[in-house]
Amino acid sequence: MNFEHQLRVQDLNVRYAETIDEDRLESWPDFFRDDGRYLITTAENVAQKLPIGMMYATSRAMLRDRIKALRQANIYEAQRYRHVIGAPRLVEAGDGTLRARTSFMVARIMHSGETMLFATGCYDDCIVLDGDNAVFAEKTVIIDSRQVDTLLAIPL
């Protein structure tokens, strides 16, 4: 295994999660390539080969629109996430890209303090390394449960 890639992807994941957990959502799209693909779906849909997602974007612009809507249009109760992410399992795709599968748990904390285990699942990522930088060409968030409590406003 390539230890450097291992640690770089781990670092990418940590910074990605921190950006969300600390509500710096405006920077979240920057973790993706211009034509980055982002999909949130369920293990059940994946198992049945059904394509629908809860969030689906095919460009960084669409990700920025998502955040803009959250900030300016959508109504939802103040809440934050806390990601805890496992170590990634990497497969070198050769073409300078890496495929990574990574398990996560996300707790959701309401402004009132109420906390729940909100989502568990795995990231199925395609990562592009160039130089010191690493971005997602594709990120598929496969949540284990088909149930979402109340709403899913903040990306996972």
């Binding site: 249009a73 109504i75 939802y76 409590d149 109340t150 709403l151």
Partner: protein
Amino acid sequence: MTIAAGIRAWPSDQVTRVPYWIYSDAALYGEEMERVFRGDTWSFLCMEAELPRPNTYRTSFLGDMPVVVTRDKDGAVHAFENRCAHRGALLCHKERGEAKEIACVYHNWTYDLCGKLTGVAFRRGIAGKGGMPPESRPEQHAPRQLRVECFAGLVFGTLGRHTPPLETYLGAQIAPKIRRVMRAPVRLLGGYSQILQSNWKLYMENVKDSYHASLLHMFFTTFRLNRLSQKGGLVVSEDGGNHISYSMAAADAGKEYEKAGMRTANEGYALEAPELLKSVDEFGDGVGLQILSVFPGFVLQQIRNSLAVRRIVPLGVDRTELVWTIFGFETDDEALHELRLRQANLIGPAGFISMEDGAAVGFVQRGSRGAGGELSVVEMGGRGIGSEESRVSEAAVRGFWHAYRHHMGM
């Protein structure tokens, strides 16, 4: 129907005022399961497409009661209680599957796909010892059969003895609007569910509330996907229980919201990737949005090219599961298919539009805590439950309460 002991009385003869205890009374909730969901009403169970072949089944719910929906070897659809005749174990504990017969795991009693008890393990004992007395009639306790009707690819079921035929129940104005959407063989695109922290009725009111759409959902208004000032209408079935609300896709240039200074008006707000809202008039009638509901717990949605059915499963007096099934048609080309996937961003728990309904119903459940004795006001569009040209109306919400009181004998 007689008034049950222990059901509180409706505060007036009107449906323009709703008492808040209706959302939090646990005893009432139990009565609702009996009188509404297991009474003379039709509940949506699943899509026919979820039973793709003979000898398939899918589990669902009639209110809080588990049911099995099957397609037998001849293609006929059946539904029955998901409860074994013997000691009451779930007969099917999977979401869906293939089966020629159903065997209860507990003592291996077997059923055919009509829910008929076909086998009792060791009924005659072993070597002449044990087993059931010859005169026993366990069949008398077989899972209750639901009356089932399929309409435009949707499977409905009822336990009520006096439930009218489905199409009559839907009403002359609603049934065609279901057919309108279900225009071709269905292609399932997937699904998910949303746990609502509220009583089930709050969600059904929300769906029937054409007044909130463009006030709560800024996304609607901002992009003029749906404004009350757009051409459209509100249709309520005679019994009040079923409704559609629709609006024409043609964006209006009206400034009513801006004049009224609504929070929901938001000039100079634009999408970097407007393709999200690209859509086609697949129904050829210019209707951009049609929300349709059937009492007590079914919703059929067309938001541009995003099509879905939603069914509610009450989980308790203050918790409800909303099950979404998103679909297109076998006839969809790649372009339309991709449109549907992209527009899925509008709906579901993460939907630019519908996420807010999840928040709103919870806000009412919590906001009305401590207000059991108070009344909410349902007077937009007057006091009637009739159809209207205007959607600045709560006629369909009043219709819901009209039907509710009828079934609850309140």
